[in-house]
């Protein structure tokens, strides 16, 4: 058992505040939520102050011992890059714990050897393709939530092909959709069509029902996985993983986008 050693906000130093903020930009690619909101970060502290800057230690944990090593690697590597970019931080150690491949991943990220360098006999390449596939899933789930929002506002399904981003009212659904579009390099201007394919081309009226149906399956899958993972983390470490943002999917309306709703 590992206890949560995240300090209350008031005890954090300025650097630590910035480190936590940086970690909040790192997302679990499968669950499309920040690793801080998922309670994957157990500690982020300054270990050493030198004349040039601070050396930072970050400890991470995951819901199971056998969480997929490629996604675990992405989170450790992204955490490393995010914290290393914080002004005043000159050295970073990201320490994944209680995971079957923790030693390889920690050493591989520290050595900046990439995924293929970390698992030389087992990887057929880097993780760009995997990351892209899951950014697309995240976008599709957000698109479904946005369309659901418009449906609740009275839009008919067949009219959604004409919807523009400007038709989405200011809302968590809009914010999260815009972020995922930016992640994929898709247009984010007001006049851009709302319902698009993965490459940004507008979805035709003929293709719309199928696109939305699949988007719904993606959203259900992502939400279901997040529920499962939060529950397993909570069980594994004996702490409530729902944190202050509220995650009770059983009683909430479908598809709350928790971290964006804050």
């Amino acid at each position: 058992m590992t206890t949560v050693t995240r300090p209350p906000d008031r005890t954090r130093t300025g650097v630590e505040e910035r480190v936590w903020a940086a970690l909040g930009t790192v997302r679990d690619p499968e669950l499309d939520q920040p690793i801080t909101a998922l309670c994957f970060v157990t500690e982020a502290v300054v270990r050493d102050h030198g004349p040039a800057g601070s050396a930072v230690l970050v400890r991470l944990r995951l819901p199971t011992y056998f969480c997929a090593p490629n996604f675990a690697f992405l989170m450790v590597a992204d955490a490393h890059d995010a914290v290393r970019a914080v002004p005043g931080v000159t050295a970073v150690e990201i320490r994944l714990e209680d995971h079957f491949a923790a030693d390889e991943i920690n050493a591989g990220v520290a050595a900046q050897g990439g995924f293929a360098g970390t698992f030389p006999q087992l990887a057929g390449g880097e993780l760009a393709e995997l990351r892209l596939a899951f950014l697309r899933k995240a976008h599709l789930a957000c698109l479904e939530r946005a369309c659901r929002r418009l449906r609740q506002d009275g839009w008919q399904v067949e009219d959604l092909t004409r919807a523009r981003l400007s038709d989405l009212p200011a809302s968590p659904e809009r914010d999260s959709l815009l972020r995922r579009r930016a992640d994929l390099g898709l247009p984010t201007d007001h006049d851009a069509p709302l319902v698009v394919h993965d490459d940004g081309t507008p979805v035709s009226a003929d293709d719309l029902p199928a696109r939305l149906r699949f988007a719904r399956a993606v959203r259900v899958s992502v939400d279901g996985n997040a529920t499962m993972c939060r529950g397993l983390l909570e069980t594994r470490y004996g702490v409530p993983a729902a944190d202050e943002h509220g995650t009770d999917g059983a009683s909430a309306a479908p598809s709350p986008d928790e971290e964006d709703a804050r």
Partner: protein
């Protein structure tokens, strides 16, 4: 059999195990990590009155299994889905000799599937032939594609040797291929849970039934996408179904998606015993309904759908005899 409100259900638990995950059988830290991971699933999603202590969960007896499935669990027939995990457990996680003896003792209740691994190549093909000659033959196999084998961390169904094994299954009349995806595969940079390889082999072997366990979770959407195109792809509900207790609205969406993308004839009940006890799963599933505010999207679960999912679908795949009074009227039976 389970009866509620005048309707009787023939129950086939399509996913049970007799395992030994005890410390004495753990070959290394991976064996310890694996059973602890199972135990967390058990603790996370079971009602608290159904929780077992860790030592019982690690190794339970034949008597426990018979009692829990058939005496209290409402199960009429149960199918062993073996995971050997030979790199993690000294005598294997699946206890084949014990399961075989138990199946012989309770031939009217238990079905014993086996497993193959394409990395065993020619020798494994020979073993499969031998297995198919035991006790009237094999009806199904369970494949765990993330199984470690020395330096290899998994395989795909589209590997050349996998095709040879599938062809052998067809030749030997082993029609039901259960597939469980895990967190590792070769190459590691690809999504290990991807089910695209199931799509390929389902097209290549239309006479085999491919049952994707855990309905593809954590890739429900990818599973639905291939299952809607391949009529010989099925979904096993193990791991998904206990969500109805702690997360009923999510379970409603999952079952709703499955019924939309597949149909009611291709979804199979499985408890994943001993992770979950079938008694509460069967009882809660019979009582389960899509919440009212979600019915415009997902409709309702009828007793016919529940009877098919709980047992009649698996009975069809495994040629299990269903008592006439528990069968559906001919008009409702899939061709």
């Amino acid at each position: 059999m389970y009866t509620k409100d005048g309707t009787s259900y023939f129950v086939v638990d399509s996913h049970v195990a007799l395992w030994d995950g005890s410390p004495q059988n753990q070959a290394n830290r991976y064996g310890k990590g694996f059973i602890e991971c199972f135990y967390d699933y058990h603790r996370n999603l079971s009602p608290k009155e159904w929780l077992w202590p860790l030592d019982k969960f690690e190794k339970y007896s034949e008597a426990d299994l018979i009692h829990d499935l058939f005496e209290t669990g409402h199960v009429d027939r149960a199918i062993f889905q073996p995971a050997y995990l030979s790199d993690f457990y000294t005598t294997g996680f699946h206890q084949r000799e014990r399961a075989l003896a138990l199946t012989r003792e309770h031939a009217d209740k238990l079905v014993l599937n086996d497993a193959w691994d394409p990395r065993d190549r020619e020798a494994g093909l020979d073993r499969l032939e031998e297995l198919a000659a035991v006790d009237g033959g094999l009806k199904g196999v369970k494949l765990y594609t993330a199984e470690w084998r020395g330096d290899s961390k998994g395989y795909k169904l589209t590997d050349e040797w996998s095709y040879r094994y599938l062809a052998k299954c067809e030749e030997l009349g082993i029609r039901n291929i259960h597939i469980h995806k895990g967190p590792t595969v070769y190459p590691l940079n690809r999504d290990a849970f991807d089910v695209a390889d199931v799509d390929d082999v389902a097209s290549a072997f239309p006479n085999l039934n491919f049952v994707v366990e855990h309905v593809g979770l954590p890739r429900l959407e990818d599973f639905c996408w291939i299952a809607t195109q391949e009529p010989n792809v099925y979904g096993g509900l193990a791991v998904a179904i206990p969500l109805m207790h702690t997360r009923p609205r999510y379970f409603a969406q999952i079952i709703g998606e499955l019924l939309y993308w597949l149909d009611e004839d291709r979804i199979l009940f499985g408890s994943d015993y001993a992770i979950w006890h079938p008694k509460w799963l069967v009882e809660q599933f019979v009582d389960f309904q899509i919440p009212e505010d979600m019915r415009s999207e997902y409709g309702e679960l009828t007793t016919t759908v529940k009877r098919k999912i709980l047992g009649l679908n698996a009975a069809r795949l495994y040629d299990l005899q269903v008592p006439a009074e528990l069968s559906l009227p001919a008009a409702e039976v899939v061709a």
